[in-house]
């Protein structure tokens, strides 16, 4: 399983990377905003995308929309991990086709639970 972690804060990328490693996901790559992430996704055979929302350059919500609009990436599972906690934003993300939404600050158990849930759903729908 190859996972792309997108966040403009390198500390947060390292935290998520370490948590994912603890969950048994060793194959991860990092990008600092949507503009860097999108070409990586298009050429990199990623199985899962974990992205922040508020980033300079391309924001996470626009990256999500770009992924859903891309024929090859449309079904890529996407988890938003963000400090944005307003109802309107969560609804917007849901409408844009997000698979999970984790609000910062979060704990390791929450991240694990959301990731497991996403993959359970994908397996159930297959």
């Amino acid at each position: 399983m190859k996972i792309l972690i997108v966040d403009d804060f390198s500390t947060m990328r390292r935290i998520i990377k370490n948590l994912l490693r603890d969950l048994g996901f060793n194959n991860t790559a990092e990008a600092d905003d949507g503009n860097t992430a999108l070409p990586m996704l298009q050429s990199g055979n990623f199985d899962f995308l974990v992205t922040d929302w508020n980033m300079p350059g391309m924001e996470g919500i626009d990256l999500l929309k770009a992924v859903r609009a891309d024929e090859k990436l449309a079904s890529l599972p996407v988890l938003l991990v963000t400090a944005e906690a307003k109802k309107e934003q969560i609804v917007e993300a849901a409408q844009a086709g997000v698979n999970g939404y984790v609000v910062k600050p979060f704990n390791a158990a929450t991240l694990k639970e959301k990731i497991e849930k996403i993959f359970e759903r994908i397996e159930a729908s297959q």
Binding site: T11, R14, I15, A83, I90, V103, K104, F106
Partner: protein, 248 residues
């Protein structure tokens, strides 16, 4: 000369003539009275001028839309920034304590592992050089057993503490976002002050017109205690509830 200025000059002239005749007549009280009156006329003139300048400044500020921006900065945004920065102190304080607690808890566990390993190592060396009695060997094998039994639990404890330290580092993202917003506010204040300087130093304002700031960004970043948005959800549970109501 305006009408009010000509009246003032007229009044000054009357008082000046009175002053001269009072001095000529040796009437000291009347002379001092005239001097005071001239001073009063002068002050009135000055206050009227200050009033006029204040009105002009106010009108110019209103024209440039700066007055409302500045009062908004002073009334809302600066106190808001103060609370955000206080929240940064509390978040970094929590992160530091979380890290220190994990370190304080982990060190004694490491020490126990270290002690028990070095004790075994010492006896093991004696065993290798055939320096150990049968009783001592029985004791050593019991100690090795205990060491192995305790090790797994102790290592997982240390791993949990290391994970706590890892998670405590999320403060950098949260506080970074908050401080970033305060830097934006400081920039805004700076722009407004530069605008004021430009206005006060220019007579014709056309080429100095300030650019209006773009509409407020929709994203709010981390919620700050006491400053939460009306529609902000308070916990991951509330986020989950909302998502499940949307069919997630």
């Amino acid at each position: 000369m305006t009408f009010s200025e000509s009246i003032l000059s007229e009044q000054c002239l009357v008082q000046a003539r009175g002053l001269v005749s009072s001095i000529e007549n040796g009437d000291e009280d009347a002379a001092i009275g005239s001097l005071r009156e001239i001073g009063r006329i002068n002050e009135t003139n000055m206050f009227q001028e200050i009033g006029r300048l204040t009105r002009e400044l106010h009108d110019t500020l209103v024209d440039f839309g700066i007055e409302t921006d500045i009062s908004n900065l002073a009334e809302h945004e600066i106190p808001d920034a103060r609370e955000r920065l206080s929240h940064v102190i509390s978040v970094t304080n929590q992160a530091a304590h979380k890290t220190l607690t994990a370190v304080e808890e982990a060190i004694p566990v490491c020490r126990k592992l270290e002690e028990s390993a070095s004790k075994i190592e010492h006896q093991w060396k004696r065993f290798i050089s055939r320096d150990l009695s049968a009783d001592e060997f029985r004791k050593l094998s019991r100690e090795i057993g205990e060491h192995l039994e305790n090790s797994a639990g102790r290592y997982s404890k240390i791993k949990a503490y290391l994970n706590d330290i890892l998670m405590a580092q999320d403060f950098q993202d949260i506080t970074g976002q908050i401080i970033g917003r305060v830097i934006g506010l400081v920039q805004d204040v700076e722009d407004k002050l530069i605008g004021l300087i430009k206005i006060s130093s220019s007579v014709n304002g056309d080429d100095n017109r300030l650019e209006r700031k773009p509409a407020e960004k929709v994203l709010e970043g981390p919620q700050v205690p006491g400053k939460e948005s009306a529609t902000a959800l308070k916990s991951q549970d509330e986020v989950d509830d909302l998502l499940s109501s949307l069919g997630f």
